[in-house]
Symmetry: C2
Subunit: 145 residues, 2 copies
DNA sequence: CGTATTTATTTGTATTTACAAATAAATACG
DNA sequence: CGTATTTATTTGTAAATACAAATAAATACG
């Protein structure tokens, strides 16, 4: 166990990369990708989000998101709509096909959540999640100063 | 706080993405990138690693790593050497310029570690790091079965 | 009201990345 | 020993990504 193993950003990246890779491998045969799932999951939480909101929420650069959404639209998973209140903005809406895809992937995502925290006590999971939220906020603070 | 905020892979990705972005912004003006730093940090831990070992360690696809190392070699940060014991393998070695770059970036990396865990108790940091290692192992187990 | 500035998204384009195929050396084993 | 298989890396190539510029609508404010 070298210095890397004690370095938090390293541990974070390593854990994230592993989950991402495993999950990607699993949803690809279903005609989806991790990024597509991120969009669907964010829209499941709240449909009709704007591109910018979505970008912030799922940590995907907005120019990257535009093209990701292009693809999802072509697949019929989502539909763009011009925001009625502000014509600059575009809102995204899941279609029936998108909901179908969500229904297929959701159990997989739930399984990953379980596998990831296997062997953890409730309290440890709580501390972990709280820590990750706090860590995010700490970095967010840095961004503005 | 919607369902996403309770979903561990989401929290993990979000925290990792934020640190990565902030760190990238900071090292770019110094002529480096996050990926370059990952290689340098891994070689700092142990010089003369093989490509495959490096790839595993820093979670960068080996074909991606090849081209990343191409660039680092052109910048004079590292040198490839054919492994004496096994001519299939290539070992990577930091150069003086690479060590210089490491010396410049290391304090930044250390600062990020500190900022990330600001407000955390020692115990919380311990739990967090242990959890991230365990989480990684859990996913690793899945990969083989 | 009309122009300047800000905000939201998209597009241009170069770089990064990933999967698969190619290369090359080591090992297995008939 | 020689051929088949495995292992380590690189290369081909298409897709994903990011930064900057372009577009377009809203807001500020003279």
């Amino acid at each position: 166990m070298g210095p890397l193993d004690g370095y938090l950003p390293y541990l974070l990246n390593r854990a994230g990369a592993r989950i991402a890779m495993a999950f990607s491998d699993e949803v690809r045969p279903l005609g989806s990708t991790l990024q597509i799932w991120r969009v669907l999951a964010a829209l499941r939480e709240r449909d009709g989000r704007r591109m910018g909101d979505l970008s912030e929420t799922i940590s995907i650069e907005v120019s990257t998101l535009t093209r990701l959404v292009d693809g999802m639209e072509k697949k019929g998973l989502v539909a763009r709509r011009r925001d009625a209140a502000d014509a600059r903005a575009v809102t995204l809406h899941v279609t029936p096909a998108g909901r179908r895809m969500t229904r297929i992937i959701l159990p997989i995502a739930e399984r990953y959540e379980k596998v990831a925290i296997e062997g953890f006590s409730e309290a440890e999971v709580m501390v972990l999640k709280t820590a990750l939220r706090r860590l995010f906020d700490n970095m967010d603070g840095l961004r503005k100063s």
